[in-house]
C-alpha cells in the first residue's frame, strides 16, 4: 500500500487488459424527458460509465429493459452524441470527432441491429444493401464491389444468387445475416451488436450466435455484445458488464462472474434465469426483488440498487459505492460485494 494517493483503478484502466481497443471514461448520456413545455426533467440513461474492451475479445453488456445498455451502445458508435465523458477508439476520442472524420471512422466501427425487419431498407435489394458501405466509402465499384458482396454473402451463409431479392423475401434469421454481411463488408475491427438474436426463434438464435463466433475467430473482430438474456451473453462473451439504471454495477470475466457474482444485482439476475434441466430447476430458488425498477428520471440516491437490494444497509442510501476492483480484473460497485 503506497501512501501516495494514486488515481483510482477503474474498468477503463483495468490492469488485466493490455492495450484496449476501446476505452470509455465517465460517459454520460442524458435525454430531456418528454412532457410539458416547462419540463426540466432529464432521463439519466447512461450515468458515468467506465469500461474498456481488449482487441479480439467479446464484452457482453447485460441488463434489463430501460437500464441504458442500448443507449450506451449507440453513444459508443456515435449514433447519438454523448452528454459528457470520453470514448477512446485506439487513440481517437470519438466524442470529439464530427462530420467527415466521423464518417471515415465508421469504416472501422460497425453495428448489428436488433430488429432484422426494421434495419434493412425495404426498397433496396440485398445486393445494394450489402454494397452500400463500399459505395459510400468509395472502396470498390462495379465488378469489384459485386465480387466483394458475393464473397461476404457466402461468408455469412447467404446464397449469393439472391443479390437482387428484397429484404421482405427473407426470413428473420436470413435478414440478420444480411445485416451482419453489411457490417462486415468493410472489414471493420470493432462491432457493436445490439440484441442481435433476441428477435429470432430459438433454433435460429444458435445459427447466428455460432456465425458470430466463427466470424470473430476468422477476422479477429472485437465485439460489444448487448443483450438482456444472460444465457446468451454468458455463452458468447469473454467478459461481462452488468448494467442497472444507467450504471455498470459489475464487470469481470464471464466464468468468475458465473461462479461468484460480486454484486447483489448480478446474483439476482443469475438466479432468475431458468435452466433447461428439471432437476436443477427443482432446487433453483430465484431471489425475488421487491418493488419495481425506479424511474431513470429520478434515480435513487447513492447506490441505485438500494431500494430493491436484499442486503441493503443504511450506508447504501448515503454513500455511493464506486465501481472498484475487488479482485484481479473484477469490478463491482457495492459496499457489501460478494455478501449475498
Amino acid at each position: 500500500m503506497s501512501a501516495q494517493p494514486s488515481p483510482a483503478i477503474t474498468p477503463a484502466s483495468d490492469p488485466t487488459l493490455k492495450k484496449p481497443l476501446l476505452r470509455v471514461e465517465k460517459l454520460v448520456k442524458h435525454f430531456p424527458a418528454g412532457g410539458g413545455l416547462f419540463a426540466r426533467n432529464v432521463v439519466h440513461a447512461v450515468d458515468g460509465v467506465d469500461l474498456a474492451i481488449a482487441p479480439g475479445e467479446t464484452l457482453g453488456l447485460v441488463g434489463e429493459s430501460g437500464c441504458g445498455k442500448s443507449t450506451l451502445g449507440r453513444v459508443i458508435v456515435r449514433l447519438q452524441p454523448a452528454t459528457s465523458g470520453q470514448i477512446f477508439f485506439k487513440d481517437t476520442d470519438l466524442t470529439r470527432v464530427r462530420g467527415e472524420k466521423l464518417r471515415r471512422l465508421r469504416q472501422q466501427i460497425q453495428m448489428i441491429f436488433q430488429d432484422p425487419y426494421a434495419s434493412l431498407n425495404p426498397r433496396m435489394t440485398v445486393g445494394d444493401i450489402v454494397a452500400e458501405p463500399l459505395r459510400n466509402f468509395g472502396v470498390a465499384r462495379g465488378r469489384k464491389a459485386e465480387q466483394r458482396v458475393q464473397e461476404v454473402m457466402r461468408v455469412v451463409g447467404l446464397n449469393p444468387n439472391f443479390v437482387n431479392r428484397y429484404p421482405h423475401e427473407f426470413s428473420g434469421g436470413q435478414r440478420q445475416r444480411i445485416g451482419i454481411a453489411r457490417a462486415l463488408v468493410l472489414n471493420p475491427t470493432f462491432i457493436v451488436a445490439d440484441e442481435p438474436v433476441s428477435a429470432l426463434d430459438v433454433s435460429i438464435q444458435a445459427q447466428i450466435v455460432n456465425l458470430m463466433e466463427d466470424l470473430q475467430a476468422k477476422f479477429n473482430l472485437t465485439f460489444l455484445f448487448i443483450a438482456h438474456d444472460l444465457s446468451v451473453v454468458r455463452h458468447i462473451s469473454d467478459r461481462i458488464a452488468v448494467m442497472y439504471l444507467g450504471k455498470i454495477v459489475e464487470i469481470g470475466p464471464s466464468g468468475s462472474i458465473r461462479d461468484k457474482p460480486l454484486h447483489p444485482y448480478t446474483k439476482v439476475l443469475q438466479s432468475s434465469v431458468p435452466v433447461p434441466d428439471p432437476d436443477l430447476e427443482a432446487v433453483r430458488k430465484p431471489i425475488l426483488l421487491k418493488g419495481e425498477i425506479p424511474s431513470p428520471v429520478n434515480p435513487p440516491s447513492a447506490c441505485r440498487f438500494h431500494t430493491r437490494c436484499p442486503i441493503a444497509q443504511p450506508i447504501c442510501s448515503e454513500v455511493e459505492p464506486p465501481l472498484e476492483m475487488k479482485e484481479n480484473g473484477r469490478f463491482a460497485a457495492c459496499h457489501f460485494a460478494g455478501q449475498l
Binding site: V77, L79, R103, R104, R106, Q107, I109, Q110, M111, F113, Q114, D115, Y117, A118, S119, L120, N121, P122, R123, M124, E132, P133, N136, F137, V139, A140, K144, R148, E151, R154, V155, V156, G157, L158, N159, F162, R165, Y166, H168, E169, F170, Q174, G179, R182, A183, N187, Q207, N210, L211, D214, K218, F219
Partner: protein, 307 residues
C-alpha cells in the same frame, strides 16, 4: 480487400428456397386490383388519357370551328353531344377539354411535388431551425385565401406583367404556388418518422452522407404516401381550372376548357341543357375517378398493412 478466401461455414444455409419474388409495388398492385372502385377510377383515367392523346391529332371537327350546324342543336347522329351556342361540335370540344384537363392535372401534381418534396424532406430530416422556418412558412401559407391569391397570380403574371401567356402553364403555376403545402407537410411527417427508423441509422453507420440518406433511404420509403397525395392534388387542380374558366378568368376562348364550356351554355340552360351537361358530367366523372384512385392507392400503400 486483402482477405482469405472464405472457408466453408458449419452454419451455411446456401441451399434454402425463397418464396416467389414480390416487390413492394407489385404488392400494392395486388391490393389495388381487389379494390373495384379504384379500378374503375383507373379505367376512367386511362380513357381520359387516350381521348386526350387522340385529340392532339384528331377530333371530329376542329374544336374552334363555329357554325358546323345550327346553334344550340341538341344531340343528333352527326353530332352525338350536340352543338353549342356558337354552333361548335361539343364532342370535339369535350375531347379537346380532356387534353387541357390532363395537362392541368398532371402539371400541377408535378410542380406541387417539386416544391413540396424538397421542403418537406429538409424540414423533417434536419428538424431544429430548418424545420421551424419551413413549418412557419407552411402555416402562414395555409392562412392565405388560396383561391383569391391564385386568381390574382394569374392576373398579375399574365395580364399585368405579361410574364407567362394566359394558358395552362399560368394556371398550373398559380395553383401550385398556393397549394404545395399539403405535399410538404406530408413529406415532412414521413421524413420525421423515417429518420428514426433503424435502417436509416444503419445507413448512417454504413457511411451514408446526408444526401444519400435523403435520396436513397428516406425518399423512396415515403414514395407511396407522396403518390397518394399527388393523386389528390390532380382533381383539385382540375376543379380550380374549370372554376376559373367558368368565371371567364381562366383559359381564353376558344380554348375548349370544360369550365368555359359550361359557362357558354349557362344562359341557354332552360332550352339547351346539353351544352352545360356534357362538360359538367365529364368533369364530375374525372374528379370522381381521381378520388377513387387516390383512395385505392392510399389503402394499397397503407403502411399499417405493409410489413
Amino acid at each position: 480487400m486483402a482477405q482469405a478466401a472464405p472457408v466453408a461455414q458449419p452454419d451455411v444455409e446456401l441451399t434454402y428456397e425463397i418464396p416467389e419474388q414480390v416487390t413492394l409495388l407489385s404488392d400494392a398492385w395486388r391490393r389495388i386490383r381487389r379494390n373495384r372502385l379504384a379500378l374503375v377510377g383507373g379505367g376512367v383515367i386511362i380513357v381520359l388519357l387516350i381521348v386526350a392523346l387522340i385529340s392532339m391529332v384528331w377530333t371530329p371537327y376542329p374544336t374552334w370551328l363555329q357554325a358546323v350546324g345550327p346553334t344550340y342543336q341538341p344531340p343528333s347522329p352527326a353530332h352525338p353531344l350536340g352543338l353549342d351556342n356558337a354552333g361548335r361540335d361539343i364532342l370535339s370540344r369535350i375531347m379537346g377539354g380532356a387534353l387541357i384537363t390532363v395537362q392541368v392535372g398532371i402539371g400541377s401534381a408535378i410542380i406541387v411535388s417539386l416544391i413540396g418534396i424538397p421542403l418537406g424532406l429538409l424540414a423533417g430530416f434536419y428538424r431544429g431551425k430548418v424545420d421551424t422556418a419551413i413549418s412557419f412558412v407552411i402555416n402562414i401559407w395555409y392562412g392565405i385565401p388560396d383561391l383569391l391569391v391564385a386568381l390574382i397570380l394569374v392576373f398579375v403574371l399574365s395580364d399585368a406583367l405579361h410574364l407567362i401567356p394566359r394558358g395552362v402553364l399560368v394556371i398550373v403555376i398559380a395553383f401550385s404556388l398556393t397549394r404545395w403545402m399539403d405535399v410538404a407537410r406530408l413529406v415532412r411527417g414521413q421524413a420525421l418518422a423515417l429518420r428514426e427508423r433503424e435502417f436509416v441509422e444503419a445507413a448512417r453507420m454504413a457511411g451514408a452522407r446526408d444526401y444519400a440518406l435523403l435520396v436513397r433511404h428516406i425518399f423512396p420509403n415515403a414514395l407511396g404516401p407522396i403518390i397518394v397525395q399527388a393523386t389528390f392534388a390532380i382533381p383539385a387542380a382540375v376543379l380550380f381550372e374549370a372554376f376559373l374558366s367558368f368565371l371567364g378568368l381562366g383559359l381564353p376562348p376558344p380554348t375548349p376548357s370544360w369550365g368555359a364550356m359550361a359557362s357558354d351554355g349557362y344562359h341557354g340552360m332552360d332550352f339547351a341543357p346539353h351544352i352545360v351537361l356534357a362538360p359538367t358530367i365529364a368533369l364530375s366523372i374525372t374528379l370522381m375517378a381521381f378520388n377513387w384512385l387516390g383512395d385505392g392507392l392510399r389503402d394499397a400503400f397503407d403502411p399499417r398493412m405493409r410489413r
